[in-house]
Symmetry: C2
Amino acid sequence: MKEETIIKNISKHISLDEEEKKYFLSILHYKKLEKGEILLKYGEISKSQFFVIDGCLRNYSIDEQGKEHVIAFACKDWWISDLYSYITETPAEHTIDALVPAEVFEIMKWDMEKVFERIPKFERFFRILFQNSMVNQMRRIRQVMSVPAEERYKVFIKQYPDIYLNIPLKHIASYLGISPEFLSKIRSKIAHD
Amino acid sequence: MKEETIIKNISKHISLDEEEKKYFLSILHYKKLEKGEILLKYGEISKSQFFVIDGCLRNYSIDEQGKEHVIAFACKDWWISDLYSYITETPAEHTIDALVPAEVFEIMKWDMEKVFERIPKFERFFRILFQNSMVNQMRRIRQVMSVPAEERYKVFIKQYPDIYLNIPLKHIASYLGISPEFLSKIRSKIAHD
DNA sequence: CGCGACGTTGATTTGCCTCAACGATTGTGG
DNA sequence: CCACAATCGTTGAGGCAAATCAACGTCGCG
């Protein structure tokens, strides 16, 4: 059940009674996405956050030379948004789309703020969620700067065993901060063992 | 006044009445640090978070080859900790020390949890704090991967105008993810304009 | 004063990029 | 359903940004 997935995710950090669950579920918008469908486009103002029920999304930016940079993947049971646009209500610097057919819950900012008012425990939930994300971000920064590409790819495989074969190699290369050609060479090098 | 600094920082996102302020101030531990003094050492379990009143701290890790990697600087009016160790109560992978004489407030985890219980608004404060930090972390990842070192250094100067001349160059190089020699070359190249 | 940490500079090396060409696979319109 | 285009992954040649190594001048400090 889709609703159970998100309740379970939240229950990792806070506990909700029946009424709170019901209220929270009432603000969710279920969305089914085709492969390639866009959830948030560069330049739009992000008015919502997403929870991934199934499938896999990506968050990427485009630099001055038109090159894509994958900032994050979000698979089953992850949260994703363009936080900066969401917070400041300025045009998004990123685009979010579906790499494979996916299902998400959308939560509008307006509703989210009401949730925070009505069930302050949710402040705690997101405090912990962001806190944990910070740890991962720092890990990633450390990695990009100190670990050679081949190692980073191996770590990636362990971290995303479900997707590393199903999505285009170039997105993985972009996420790792290397060119698709070079990742291809790494792959064939690893295969020779 | 030291206490005013931190209250002002918190008041950016939530408002506190006199009693709440008093209670919060009562759990702070003021610490004066000499240059080079260590706040958290690799391998210890982090039991607190810090707010920097004055001076400048750094958070760094050491890789298998013994090389230091500066993950973050924290100057006046910033928060710093080893979040992972703090959350999971496992040995820290990072070390935090003072680059120049500094003053901080320490908040013990135990007290922090009581604050969250007694003044739930603080959940909100830290939720927003981490949310904003996430945005910065993502920016940094994007930068490291898509912007050449010289540009990154120029951005750094703008971001940390107070410290970029006062602290050893090698720490800045480490933060930027380049070698000290290369940063030195960048500096002299910039000077030639 | 002399020692150690630091910043600079040059020579050489390397990890990764760019460009280009080529099969393989996927997708699409007629 | 096929034909053709587009996208994708692979491989090789050549180039560049940044690392490494080494030598040297400088400064703060015991």
